[in-house]
Amino acid sequence: MTAMKFVGQSATRIDELAKVTGAAQFVDDLDFGPNLLYAEVVESPHAHALIKRIDASRAKKVPGVVRVVTGKDFPYTFGLYMQDRFIFARDRVRFVGEQVAAVVARDPVTARRAARLVKVTYEPLPHVLDLKEALGEDALLVHPDLKNYSHCPWFFPVADTNIAHWRKTRKGDVEQGFREADMVFEDTYTVPRYAHCAIEPHVIVGQYDLAGRLTLWSSSQSPYTQRHVFAEALAPLGLKHQDIRVITPFVGGGFGGKAGVSMEIIAAALALAVKGSPVKVRWTREQEFYNTYQRQGVIARIKMGVKKDGAITAIEHTLHWDAGAYVEYGANVVNAVGLSATGPYRVPNVKIDSVCVYTNLPPGGPYRGFGYSEFHFGLESHMNRVAKMIEMDPVEFRRRNAIREGDTLPYGAHMNPCGLVEAIDKAAAEIAWGKKEESTSPHKAIGKGFACFWKAPAMPPNAASAAFLKFNEDGSLNISVSGMEIGQGFLTVMAQIAAEVLTVPPGRIRVETPDTDRNAYEWQTVGSHVTWGCGNAVKAAAEEVRDKMLQVVHRVHGFAKEDLYFEDEHVKCRSKPDFALPFKDFVISGIQTPHGNFLGGPILGSGMFMPEFTSATGDPETSQGGHPNVHYTVGAAGIVLEVDRETGKMRVLKAVLAVDVGQAINPDLVRSQIVGGLVQGLATALYEDIRYSLEGKLLNPNFTDYKIPTALDIPDKIVPIIIEVAQPDGPFGARGVGEHTMIAAAALVANALEDAVGLRIKSLPLTAEKVALELRGIRYDDVKGSTMGLCFMGDPQQYAFFTKNSK
C-alpha cells in the first residue's frame, strides 16, 4: 500500500471551531417558539408499590396546565432487547424515581408546581434491593409477568424468578482443567453501580403535528434505534417508521447513557398527547442519575487453575448482576460479559455464568465498557494474586497466557489479529516494570500496577451502517451518516476516511449529525464500533463516488480507467501526464464534450456495511456454535501509584495505556480517547461512589457528593501508546477504541495499591477512606453503616453460594 495522506494523520477536528466558539448547538439550544410546552414528571417515592389511584384534578385546574398524562393514557411497554419497561408506570412502581405521570404546561414553573398537586395513592410493597434476596427462595418478584415479555432470541429469562437472562458459556471441561492445575485459587470481587455523568443531561423535544408526523429532537447516541423503538412502542396508535423522524444535533457526552431509549419515550408519548405543540422533557441532574441508566453492579466469583509454568488450565467465572428494575438494555451487558469473561487469555477450559437479576433499584444499562470494566476488576486482580502464588512475575504471567490470532475463543470462534504481547511489552517498559521506586516522603509508598484488557462490540448480528456522500460545486463534500458525534471525533474520522479515497482534505468535507429522514442508516453509536462499521460504509461510498467520477472521465476523454488516478482533488492520467482535471470542474456540472454537450452530472454515492459473518445462534447451554462478536480490541496498561499510608490518599504519578487499534485513523484522537478514558476509569477506582438508602433511594444524585474528576484530579503523566496490528475487515485496518481505555483502570489501582502497601481490596471503589481504614485493620464494610447505603448489603463471601445454582 502506498503511504496514506489523510488516514494516520492527526487532523484537526472538523467540529472543533464550532465547539470553541459556542456555535455548536445541542438539543436544549434549539428554539421552538412561544408554543413550546414543558413537562414535569411525577415520580415514585417508593422502591416498590402498587399504584392504587392517581388524582390529577387539582393539577389540571392550574392555569397554564395543558395536559396531565398517566400510564392509563399509554399502556404500552418498550425495550431494546426485552420489552419490560413502561412508558409510565401502570399498576406498579419498581424503583424510586420511576415516572408515574407527567404534567405538560406552558412554562416549566407551572409544570413543576402542578406536578406537586398530582396525588398518587400507593400501596407500598416489600422491595428487593439485594442480590441475595432477589435470588433467594420465595423471592419477591420484580416482574411477575416476566415469562410473557417478548425479547431478543439470545436472551434466556427464567420464568417465575428475578433472573432476566442467564448467559452460559462452556468450553472444554473446567473440572478436568482444575484437576490438571498445580494450583487452584478462588475468590469474590464486588463492583458497585456507577453513573455516566455526561455534562449534558438528557433532553428531548417531541412534536406531533396535525398531519400525523412525529418529530423528535433528541440528545441521543442512537437516532435510528430510537425511531425503531418509538415505532414499536407506539404501533398500537398507528404510528409507523415513516411517520417518525429523529433529529440529533451535537450531543454533550454519552458514555452509553444516551444509547437506546430511556426517558426519551416520555417525550414521544407526550407529543402525541398534546398534538400540534412541541413539548420539551429535560432531565435535571438528579433525574439524570436515577432515571436513565446506571452502570450495573456485579458480584463476581472467579476460580482459576494454573500450572507451575504459568499456563492457565481453567477459569470458572460466575457473575451476578444487579440490573435494576428494568433490563431492556442492561441484560445485553450481562450477555456480552457471559461470552468474554476469560479476559484476553488463552484458556482451554471455561465455564462462565453471567446472570442478570432484577432488583428494585434504578434500571441498569450500557456504560462505556459494557460490563468489561466490571469483570476486569476481579479478573485482573485475580491474575496478579495467582501469579504471586505461583511465584511468577504478574506481567510475565499475562504474557505467557496472552491471546493470539487464531486462538479459540470461549464460544468457539477464532481470535482476530491482535498485538497484545506487543502492548504488554511496551506498557511494562514504559512504567519500568520490576523497578521498585521509593517515595521521598516518609509516610508514602509507591507501587506499580499492571493489567490487560479486551473488549468486543456487543451488537446484534445484523447491526448495519450506511453512508451517503455527495459533491458540491466547489468540489467540497458532504457526508451523511447516522453515527453520532458524542465527542470521540467520529465526524472527523469519517472525513479522513473519505479524504483518503478521494484526496479531498477533511477541512473541505462536512459531515452532518443525524436526521433519520435524510441521513443514511446507522444502528447505534455504541460498542466502539462506528469507526469500524460506519467507516467501512463511508469508504464504500467514497469508492463508489470514485468509480463514478472515473467513469465520466473515461466516457469523455477515452482514457483507460486503470490509468486514471486522483491527486490533490484532480483526476490525473498515467498515460497522459499533462492531464489534470480539477474535481470542481465536473462533479456537479459534468464534462463538456467537443460537441458542446455535457456528460455526467452531480456525483453522489452510497455505501453500506454489515458484518455478514456474525450470528447469535450459539447453544443456550454452552454458547458454542455462533459467532456473536465481530472482533476484540486488546491492550495493556500500567500505573505508578503513590499511597499516603496515613490518609489512604492515592496519587497516580504515571499512567500508561497501550491499545491495538489496528490503524489509528487519527492518532491524536486515539490519544484523546486514552487520556479521557483512563481518567474516567481511574475515577471509578478512586472516588466515584454511588449510595442508596435502605429504602432504595439514591442518596447522592449530584456532583456535590458523586465526585467526578476535576482538572486537578488527573495523573501527573499519561503516556498513550498506539499499537497497530491491522484489522483485515476494518477501514484501512482500523478497529474500535472508545471504551477500552477505561476497562483496565480499576484493577490497575488495586494491583498498584497492593504493590505499594500490601493491601488487597476486592471491592470498588478503593477510596482513600477505605484504604486508610483497612491499613489500620478496620474493615470498611463493618463501619460503613446504613446511612452509607450500598447496593450490596452483605459480605461478598456470602454470595459464593450462587455458584451452586449454576450447573
Binding site: 484530579d713 481504614l773 463501619v783 460503613k784 446511612t787
Partner: protein, 301 residues
C-alpha cells in the same frame, strides 16, 4: 429545574431601610448577598421566603480593611476578595489558605465569607479559622448594633445567633498582637473542590500558645480547649504531636454521613492535627511551605 416559589425582591438604597424591611418581614425575609447557597436552597425548595433583601448595593459592606487592630471583612467580601487581598496575605495569610480551598473560582467570585458563616453548615470552611482568631461578628438590627463573638455565633447546623430582622454586616478578626502562623487543613474526597469531610485550623502564637478549631466533625465549628491546654507552653516534639492528635479526637463528635464514616473522620483528625501543627510551627519559624497548600494532599514539610 426552575425555582418554583414566588417571592418579592428588594434592593434598598440604605442599610437602615434594609434593616426596617427585614424587621418588618421577620422570618419571611432572607438576606441576599452572594446567593450561592440561597439560590440553591430556593431551587430545592428548602426555604420559601416571601422577600429577598439584596444588600449588594451597600458600599460600606464591601471590601476588607483594618479597624481597631482587627481585620474587618465586610459582609459583601467574597472568598475571591479574601484570596486576592494583599492585606490578608500580609496580615492573616491563614484566611487566604482557607479561601483557596472553598469551592471553585466561579463560586468564590460570588460567595461571601460572612454568608458562609450565616449559612452555618457544619462543614463551613470559614468557621474554624474564625474560631482560632476569636473573631467577632458585627450585627445590625432594629435595636441597633451588637457584636457576637464567634464562639457564640454558631448554635447548631444552619443555626446562628442572628435574630430575625438582623443582618451580619462584617466580621472582625483581631490581630493577635504577636508573631503567629497557622495552617488550614481540609480533608476532601479528592483534590478538586469538595465540601470538607473534616477541617482543622491551627494557629500558633509566639510564646508557645496554640489554638485549634475543627469543622465538619461536630454540629458546629468548635475549638479544642483540652488540646490547646496540653500544648500550651511546650515545644512540639514528635511525642507531643502524637498526644495532641489523640486528644483532639476526643474533643470532636464526628458522625457518619454521605461524605465519610465517623471512624475515618476521627482517624484523620489525628493526622490533620499533627500535620497542621507541624506546618504551622515550621511557618512560625520562618520556614515551612508557603500558604496555599493542603497538607492532606501535598507532601508535608
Amino acid at each position: 429545574m426552575s425555582i418554583a416559589c414566588e417571592f418579592d425582591y428588594r434592593k434598598p438604597k440604605t442599610l437602615s431601610k434594609a434593616i426596617r424591611l427585614l424587621a418588618k418581614r421577620g422570618r419571611q425575609a432572607r438576606v441576599l448577598a452572594g446567593g450561592t447557597d440561597l439560590v440553591g436552597w430556593l431551587r430545592d425548595a428548602l426555604v420559601a421566603p416571601d422577600l429577598l433583601v439584596d444588600i449588594k448595593g451597600f458600599d460600606d459592606l464591601k471590601g476588607i480593611g483594618v479597624k481597631n487592630r482587627a481585620l474587618v471583612i465586610g459582609a459583601l467580601a467574597t472568598f475571591s476578595d479574601v484570596l486576592e487581598s494583599d492585606l490578608v496575605a500580609e496580615k492573616l495569610p491563614l484566611f487566604r489558605e482557607m479561601a483557596g480551598m472553598v469551592a471553585s473560582n466561579g463560586v468564590r467570585n460570588r460567595a461571601t465569607l460572612v454568608g458562609n458563616i450565616c449559612s452555618a453548615v457544619p462543614c463551613c470552611d470559614a468557621g474554624p479559622v474564625l474560631q482560632v482568631y476569636n473573631a467577632v461578628v458585627h450585627v445590625r438590627g432594629p435595636n441597633g448594633k451588637r457584636k457576637i463573638p464567634i464562639g457564640q455565633w454558631f448554635l447548631g447546623p444552619r443555626k446562628t445567633a442572628l435574630r430575625p430582622g438582623e443582618l451580619a454586616t462584617s466580621v472582625a478578626v483581631p490581630f493577635p498582637g504577636k508573631k503567629h502562623a497557622g495552617c488550614f487543613v481540609k480533608l476532601k474526597r479528592y483534590r478538586g473542590e469538595d465540601l470538607a469531610q473534616a477541617s482543622v485550623a491551627v494557629l500558633i502564637l509566639a510564646g508557645r500558645e496554640y489554638r485549634l478549631a475543627f469543622g465538619a466533625v461536630a454540629p458546629i465549628a468548635v475549638r479544642g480547649p483540652r488540646t490547646e491546654a496540653l500544648l500550651k507552653g511546650k515545644a512540639l516534639s514528635p511525642d507531643l504531636l502524637e498526644e495532641a492528635g489523640r486528644l483532639a479526637v476526643e474533643e470532636v463528635v464526628p458522625i457518619t454521613d454521605i461524605r465519610s464514616t465517623k471512624e475515618y473522620r476521627a482517624l484523620m483528625v489525628e493526622v490533620m492535627v499533627r500535620r497542621g501543627l507541624k506546618t504551622a510551627a515550621s511557618r512560625l519559624a520562618g520556614k515551612g511551605p508557603a500558604y496555599g497548600i493542603n497538607v492532606m494532599e501535598e507532601d508535608a514539610p
